[in-house]
């Protein structure tokens, strides 16, 4: 499917060779090219560290993004500050692009909280676990952008767009199809970004669809495009174009980032039970990070010192993250009663008070919590 596939937008071959595409033109500075590589290398390192922490019992579970770095960094960097992202639970690279500290993500997977960043500050909503539910939230949010008159204006800096992430399995959900209909009918400034990583836990794509996913968009009344999801330049270019279209008032579009989940769905499953080694090996040859590195070397945009410095940054980031995770303490028990309602509740206050009395009845009450 890579190289020469007319259905697949590609700007960088698996060998790291820059190619042109008639519809997508990209001119970046040397620094921008290097930054794409750096982002991917760093978030991959975060992912490795999180997987290790889970294996050591420090995280309850982890959903790895290994193999999907280009899809996430390319699309995430295409967002402008005023845009809003609605992620699933695997968009660690997108969260990285939105300035969310990785420790906030790990806290959720450890069970310290259920989303510790401010969606209004980072313009990135909390992770959504229920498959596809967030596509409707993104659609409603995008309808609000239209109501606010923040599309199609003369000042591009004031036009806004929304992007929503989901996987190939989510396209089977009713909510996702309702979001397609809603966004089309109301011309919502929304980009549906589907990371087709070929598997919904163990179920292959053939169990979700009989047609290429990007072709579905046409039936809902908006354009769909398939992009090489392991090509960070192509995902960036395609997403930039789709977001521009949304901001200019032309409505939604659908991007199928054709990629591969190199690891397990989460640390709970064993992919060797449902896919063959040769398939995994063939995708290794399309690795998004190695591809970008080859490009930088071919174009003489970076030397060994640069790659060493990125690796050192990644190691430092991972070490910092590890020490932060190990320093985490559990939330205080009574905090579970907080924030059920904006203005509280007398019933919950009574339950909290009762539980506090119960806790106090122990000599060594865990008032502030312990690990």
């Amino acid at each position: 499917m890579s190289g020469g596939d007319p259905q697949l937008v590609q700007l960088l071959t698996p060998e790291g060779e820059r190619v042109e595409h008639p519809d997508y033109h990209l001119q970046l500075s040397d620094q921008e090219y290097r930054d794409f590589y750096r982002d991917m290398e760093l978030i991959r390192r975060v992912d490795f560290e999180a997987t290790a922490l889970q294996r050591q019992g420090e995280l309850g579970i982890w959903a790895s993004l290994l193999g999907q770095e280009a899809a996430q960094i390319g699309s995430g960097r295409a967002l402008k500050p005023q845009d809003m992202a609605f992620p699933t639970y695997r968009e660690h690279g997108v969260a990285w692009c939105r300035g969310i500290d990785p420790i906030n993500i790990l806290c959720t997977w450890r069970g310290n909280d259920q989303g510790a960043w401010d969606p209004k500050v980072h313009r990135c909503q909390l992770y959504t676990i229920v498959i596809g539910a967030q596509t409707l939230h993104a659609t409603g949010y995008a309808m609000g952008i239209v109501k606010d008159g923040k599309v199609g204006g003369d000042d591009p800096a004031k036009n806004e767009a929304t992007i929503v992430y989901f996987g190939d399995g989510a396209t089977s959900q009713g909510d996702v199809n309702e979001a397609f209909i809603w966004s089309s009918v109301f011309a919502a400034p929304l980009v549906f970004f589907c990371q087709n990583n070929q598997y919904a836990i163990s179920e292959p794509l053939e169990r979700q669809t009989r047609v290429p996913l990007y072709q579905r968009a046409n039936g809902f009344g908006f354009p769909g495009v398939r992009v090489d999801g392991n090509d960070v330049l192509a995902t960036y270019a395609v997403t930039t174009a789709a977001l521009d279209r949304a901001r200019s008032g032309d409505g939604p579009s659908f991007i199928e980032a054709y990629t591969y989940r190199m690891g397990a769905h989460t640390t709970n499953d064993d992919p060797t039970k449902y896919r063959i080694a040769s398939e995994v090996e063939s995708w290794k040859l399309k690795d998004p990070v190695a591809r970008m590195k080859s490009f930088l070397i071919r174009q003489q945009l970076a030397d060994n010192d640069y790659f060493d410095s990125v690796r050192a940054d990644a190691d430092a980031l991972a070490a910092k993250l590890r020490s932060e995770v190990l320093a985490l303490t559990d939330p205080a028990p009574l905090s579970m009663f907080d924030h059920v309602f904006p203005n509280g509740s007398a019933e919950l206050d009574a339950q909290r008070a009762g539980f506090a009395r119960y806790l106090d009845s122990f000599a060594d009450a865990p008032a502030g919590g312990s690990r």
Partner: protein
């Protein structure tokens, strides 16, 4: 200015006032625009506020609530109409797994002031899926508030309060009472209004407490009138109004006075609101009770065909029978 109007018109007037007072209030639902909704509750509102604020949606309930969540994240105050009680289930995931929990899991950073209007209950001779009482599902969900109105005046004020509230509110409308008339003051300030989440003593009496909500309030009041007419027991009738949270103090006070409690609702009894009231009253008023708490409810059957619904629905006689059994102890 006080006017006489039906409960349906009172909700319409409340929606109108809320939309006039806050430009962020938008209505969304199926057929609510030109048609004015199948019960005409939104009649005329699209004409006056435009298609941007009274939105005829595609025909998908999960989409209605899911996009309302997104609009609320954007700063709007959506009011969703679910056409009938039995059609709320496709939206169930968005309500209980998303709407109810987003404030909590964002540690209070996100607020979702979404109101979901739900015509509920039977007694109108409808086909299946049009007469259900699904409130138990929502009362069981932390993060939601659930209220039921019973009179035009209450409906008018409570819908405005629900919309003004920063909580997600399931707003139950007793559809068999849509055409009952009462005095309403649509322009009254909410500042002095009876609190949305308080239960209310409608009729005082010393012999037995009867708690009802929504369509059954009328039945409970009629039972009290009938009982008194025969020089029978004096019933104290309480309109629960808020199903979640529950305002128990007026009920505890009443039970301490009467020593008896009968709870009336249309929903099936098992794990219903009546079960919760019975449990709480025995926890708090154990030594005041003269008899077991009794429930008069729908049966644990699917809502039956319309020709037998009169037997399914609690009526005046079943309420009086329960009162008799309570007093027999």
């Amino acid at each position: 200015m006080t006017r006489t109007m039906t409960l349906g018109k009172a909700i319409n007037a409340g929606l109108r006032t809320a939309m006039e007072e806050d430009p962020k209030v938008v209505l969304m639902g199926e057929d609510i625009g030109r048609l004015g909704g199948v019960f005409r509750i939104t009649d005329g509102l699209q004409k006056d506020f435009g298609e941007d604020r009274v939105i005829d949606t595609p025909l998908a309930e999960s989409g209605i609530v899911g996009t309302a969540i997104g609009l609320a994240l954007r700063g709007y105050r959506p009011v969703c109409e679910i056409q009938f009680d039995g059609f709320v289930y496709p939206a169930y995931d968005q309500i209980v797994a998303q709407l109810a929990k987003m404030h909590y899991r964002s540690a209070g950073r996100l607020t979702l002031p979404v109101t979901i209007r739900l015509p509920f209950g039977g007694g109108i001779g409808a086909v299946e899926h049009h007469s259900e009482s699904p409130e138990g599902y929502f009362v069981h969900t932390a993060g939601l508030k659930v209220v039921a109105c019973s009179t035009p005046a209450e409906a008018n004020v409570m819908i405005r309060q629900a919309i003004a509230s920063d909580d997600p509110v399931i707003f139950l409308e007793p559809k068999r009472r849509y055409h009952e008339k009462g005095e309403v003051e649509p322009e009254a300030s909410l500042d002095d209004a009876f609190p949305l989440h308080a239960s209310r003593v409608l009729r005082e009496g010393g012999d037995c407490t009867v708690v009802a909500y929504g369509p059954m309030v009328r039945v409970a009041l009629d039972a009290a009138t009938a009982a008194a007419a025969d020089s029978g027991p004096a019933l104290e009738v309480i309109d629960l109004r808020s199903l979640s949270p529950l305002d128990m103090e007026p009920i505890y006070a009443s039970v301490r006075k009467t020593g008896r409690l009968v709870v009336v609702h249309e929903a099936p009894g098992t794990l219903g609101v009546g079960a919760e009231l019975a449990a709480r009253v025995q926890e708090e008023c154990f030594y005041s009770l003269e008899s077991p708490v009794l429930r008069v409810t729908g049966f644990d059957t699917p809502y039956p065909p319309a020709r037998v619904e009169d037997h399914y629905l609690p009526d005046l006689d079943r309420v009086l029978d329960a009162v008799d059994r309570s007093l027999a102890h």
